[in-house]
């Protein structure tokens, strides 16, 4: 009743490298599949679903450790769910913090890019000058704060 797939088929079905699947297995995220006589891994629809879940979480940039926790919740649906929203909250906080820093980064790089004129030596390059000056200047917040806490520079 259950379609049986080999690792390559599973990989193609979800769009995951076979090495990654084996890696998830070793990391304890995918349960050990049955083996056919030749020793090949034999996957069913349960594995397919679980792998899809993992990849969806990874697409949300959730760490494998957290994915493991979420999978525990899926396995034990009667447990209290407190942990779930806390986990998602924390993830959202992380993503928002990074988003903010990436935006600052984009601004800085875009400004930097405008500094370079045409046909000149590295010694006259506005980008390089700007980088050196910014690294030197005390007004720049980059050096005193964490990478992901920086505002403008």
């Amino acid at each position: 009743m259950d379609t049986i797939m080999r690792i390559g088929e599973l990989g193609r079905a979800i769009g995951v490298d076979v090495e990654t699947i084996r890696y998830y297995e070793k990391a304890g995220l995918l349960p050990n599949p049955a083996r056919s006589q030749n020793g090949y891994r034999a996957y069913g629809s349960a594995h397919l679903e679980r792998l899809a879940f993992i990849r969806h979480c990874r697409a949300l940039d959730i760490s494998l450790a957290d994915v493991k926790r979420l999978l525990d919740f899926v396995e034990h649906p009667n447990a209290a769910c407190e942990g779930i929203d806390l986990l998602i909250d924390a993830q959202l906080d992380r993503v928002r913090a990074r988003l903010k820093s990436m935006q600052a980064l984009e601004q800085q790089l875009a400004a930097l890019r405008g500094r370079c004129g045409e046909r000149h030596s590295a010694g006259e390059c506005g980008i390089l000058h700007e980088l050196v000056a910014a690294a030197h200047g005390e007004a720049c917040a980059c050096h005193s704060t964490q990478q992901y806490d920086q505002s403008t520079c």
Copy 2:
């Protein structure tokens, strides 16, 4: 004339862990400093500036390999500068791509967060349901595309 600092002072001056400084040295980003009689590293203002430059570039999320290239330009100011703007362009492209995907991510996580009500078991948790359903659904673009190419889900 040149203030001489030990590694701890240099680290505090720039806000970098001493281990990171030694790592940069081993990686060839910081030149080998002089040593005092006891074998301690002795840094001068040139090292300070160079380290500040490196950290500034890293704050801009520029890879160490690219920082190395930029440092080469700083060292050889008479070379042509073509490489510099290309490097910054590529960096900007990378940052913008990540920025876009992070924005999509934030949307998805925020939507997910809204799914969880109060006091219920994991089996009834809207977040978990949503995650499982989204992983299962074919309409979701997450599985077929790269992590950083996803749009909405």
